[in-house]
């Protein structure tokens, strides 16, 4: 390949012509024995270690802090009460009777995830502007994944007019209320309100691969969410919560997102033909520089919590380098990632 006419120190080279710079790094490992290394010193299949810790935000019902290399996300989950009379065209559900399940969650918008990038997390995201297309896209992806995976069961979010029998024992006077209320008005047990979970994600630092980090943060936060025990107070005609008692939200499964970007040899690579001419590399867990240089990306969400690998979602866009085989192969990569993340979540 033709060397540039001037010798540049690496940082200058990186700044002036990033694409050749990355290319040079990937190809420079002349001997096939050594795997190609990226500009960030990682191998193509090498991810950044993910650190997740349940952070302690005292005003949120659940929260988490996830670090993926230099990408840091803070997630806070907060529950608020939505009385059914405020639900447009509310369809009553009876206890035990088959509820609408996912439909209920979706139709009443009980899960409200939002991603805020404009926190100065990176030079291109400055505050005071409406959410960028990226932020909106991320929010949407988290939203639909939350629903499609059904991690949160609606039964956790229902508040019944009578203290739930058996399942979880509410506090003394809570039960007491229940009793005398029964002697009084004979009204059937009904859903009086729902918990709405506001899931707010704040990017503290941004260095590529936002979705994996954000999703991991959501999962971690939900798993450490516990809502106060709520009951219906007949004479105040409102839902009141116990200060002392909390109930852990039970989260189904552990879906883990794994993203890779495709870096093509030709910067202006011809696309369309089944196989793009020129080599291409699958860069796992891309960082900020790499994301700007790659057009094609794939995200696969897998859950191996019950033995076999179940794919929860695939999102692949912006090119044709990734064909059927690559997707197949990527599943195994995602599996590997799942194990890593599972370890981090413990």
């Amino acid at each position: 390949m033709s060397a540039p006419t001037i010798k540049l120190p690496a940082p200058l080279f990186a700044r002036l012509s990033p694409h050749p710079f990355l290319l040079r790094n990937l190809t420079s490992a002349a001997d096939p024995s050594r795997p190609a290394t990226r500009t960030n010193g990682r191998g193509t299949q090498e991810t950044r270690p993910l650190h997740a810790k349940a952070s302690s935000l005292s005003h949120a019902h659940g929260s988490s802090l996830v670090r993926l290399g230099d990408t840091t996300v803070l997630c806070g989950v907060r529950g608020e009460v939505l009385p059914v009379e405020r639900v447009p065209l509310f369809r009553p559900v009876d206890r035990g009777g088959v509820g609408l399940g996912r439909g209920e969650l979706r139709d009443y918008d009980l899960l409200v995830p939002n991603i805020e990038l404009a926190t100065g997390s990176a030079p291109q995201f400055l505050p005071g502007v409406p959410p960028t297309a990226l932020a909106q896209t991320l929010s949407t992806r988290v939203y639909s994944l939350l629903h499609s995976t059904g991690m949160v069961g609606v039964e956790d979010l229902r508040v019944w007019s009578k203290p739930a029998g058996g399942g979880e024992d509410t506090e003394m006077e809570g039960a007491g209320e229940g009793q005398e209320e029964e002697e009084g008005v004979k009204e059937e047990d009904r859903v009086v309100a729902y918990w709405v979970l506001y899931i707010d994600l704040l990017f503290v630092s941004f260095d590529g691969n936002p979705f994996d980090a954000a999703w991991a943060a959501v999962v971690a936060a939900l798993r450490n969410t516990s809502l106060p025990v709520a009951r219906w107070d007949p004479e105040r005609e409102m839902v009141v919560c116990s200060r002392t008692e909390k109930r852990q939200l039970n989260v189904k499964g552990l879906p883990v997102a794994c993203t890779a970007a495709v870096f093509e040899e030709k910067e202006l690579g011809e696309v369309g033909t089944g196989v793009p001419e020129g080599r291409h590399w699958l860069l796992l867990d891309p960082d900020r520089l790499e994301e700007t240089l790659c057009r094609e990306a794939i995200t696969m969400v897998v859950d191996c919590s019950d033995g076999e690998t179940r794919i929860k979602s695939i999102e692949k866009q912006g090119g044709t380098a990734i064909g059927r085989e690559l997707v197949r192969g990527f599943a195994t990569i995602a599996e590997k990632r799942w194990k890593e993340v599972q370890g981090a979540m413990k």
């Binding site: 505050p127 005071g128 006077e173 409102m238």
Partner: protein, 286 residues
Amino acid sequence: MADRRRINGPAGATIPPVFDDVSTPKLKSPKTRSRPPNTTRKMYLKTGVTPSASGSAYLEIETSATPGVSGLKLSCSVHGPRSLPRSAPFSPHIVLSTHVKYAPFATKQRRGYLRDPSERDLGIHLEAALRGAIIADRWPKSGVDIIISIVEGDQDRETSLLQGDEVWDMMNALGGCITVAAAALADAGIDCVDTVAGGVAALVQDAGEDSIPTVVVDPIPSEHEKILAACCIAYLPTRDEVTNLWFRGDLPTSDIDLYTSLVEKGIQASKNANRVLVGCLAETIE
């Protein structure tokens, strides 16, 4: 009008959980200050939390002894010096723009994503405090953005609903913002005449209505019966100068000493913060 660039909650407004005080017989601890009147809370400061920014810092103030009272948690990132937008006129100095925002989960009430007046107000106070500190003429026709996210407000989970003490919370927040911003600015390598730090002092009445008010530093509203007045001060120690002074409350003008002592305490608090700040900066360059 719902913000269609965000995912909005249900159509009907939701209610933050209402706790039944019946079940909890007065667990609100008697309001007593956990520290001697002129010691500030412990402060943890760290630079470089946002590698993608020119400079950044994270500040955490220890949560107080009383249960449910959260400490202040601030994350600040500085971007710049950067070129000004095309629309901007020529400026012989660096153009400072400050931005303070509470995270939605930072306070008892869930905050919206759009800045409310109080947050704008904080931003302006911060700007005033910093503009005195930086040497603006070193950076012609360039701008710098200072963005602070208040991850957790300095607030009492139990009582803040029942007290008009948001203002006092704001003062504490501002004090923290100034200190953390100073650290981030230094980290970003923007010339400053000195390290500016914020300090808060308050005139409190602890023993009932007609008791003698006392002056304390770094007040936590929930730890005091009543706060008569408070001030937040941005102070440059080596120059012995004040870049921003914000006093609020209700003082008889008859005895000015009350006011002066309040300011003095504020400066003392700022000095304490400054010690932490300088220490933190020193280890950044080690």
